[in-house]
């Protein structure tokens, strides 16, 4: 049974959650990674992310990912309302395992890349991008 104090605490909790809308929870990032890897171990390193250290406009932030020998690369933005950004699957016509695009970042956050290598193992890279004006405003 809920006491008055419990109700207050519950209300505070809801308020705290409501105050940070538009930020993916850590579990959403973990879920996206395990959906990609099938729960396999992910080694640190071996994935290069080129991004500006400071992005003035979060609406269009240039990002380049490269992982030698990767067959696909998952790109996530850990601080966006939903973490998914893109997945690059490289086919037999690809010259390298490199791709560049432009992405939206809602604020300063980590951009994470997970590469699936040809031998079936996974590698991870991450870089923090400071954003002056967020790219998720309405």
């Amino acid at each position: 049974m809920l006491t008055r104090r419990d109700t207050m605490a519950l209300g505070l909790g809801v308020a705290a959650v409501a105050m940070v809308p538009g930020v993916a929870s850590a579990s959403a990032v973990d879920d996206a990674i395990s959906a990609f890897t099938g729960g396999a171990a992910v080694a640190d390193g071996g994935v290069t992310i080129n991004a500006p250290e400071i992005a003035e406009n979060g609406n269009t932030v240039p990002i380049e990912v490269e992982a030698a020998g990767a067959v696909s690369i998952l790109m996530l933005a850990a601080g966006n309302p939903t973490p998914g950004v893109a997945t690059f699957n490289f086919g037999e016509g690809a010259g390298t395992s490199r791709a560049a695009t432009r992405i939206r970042l809602g604020g300063t956050q980590d951009v994470i890349a997970i590469a699936k290598l040809a031998d079936g193992s996974y590698a991870r890279g991450a870089v923090e991008v400071k954003v002056t004006i967020g790219g998720c405003g309405g």
């Binding site: 699957n89 490289f90 086919g91 016509g93 010259g95 390298t96 695009t101 309405g138």
Partner: protein, 108 residues
């Protein structure tokens, strides 16, 4: 969307076995589905959710896109060219539209 226009940049020439850089851009709002209009109603999501490039019938890159891809999505990647063939670029819209662009490429 009626104003969707693909643009492709390829190198002028290449030799057999070269790795060439391809740059693509398509004009598209990439509406995220989280924005609201002036009266507070959510604007429905409409993005390009997939982009593919094939060269000579071989898949080069098959990209899945989410709303975090900027408006007018730009994609750059590398292709190994062994012989002259066609590039086929395809973009898939949430509304079911498919935009396609074919460009012949000479390998000399």
């Amino acid at each position: 969307m009626s104003d969707v226009r693909p643009r492709i940049r390829l190198p002028r020439s290449a030799k057999a076995g070269d790795v060439v850089e391809v740059k693509t851009l398509i004009s598209h709002n990439m509406e995220t589905g989280t924005r609201r209009d002036g009266s507070g109603n959510t604007i429905p999501r409409q993005i390009i959710n997939r982009f593919t490039c094939e060269y000579g019938g071989k898949m080069v890159v098959d990209m899945e896109m989410h709303p975090a891809i900027s408006a007018n999505p730009y994609v750059e990647f590398d292709v190994k060219v062994e012989e002259s063939a066609d590039f086929v670029f395809t973009w898939y819209d949430d509304d079911g539209s498919v935009y396609s662009e074919t460009q012949a490429f000479e390998v000399g």
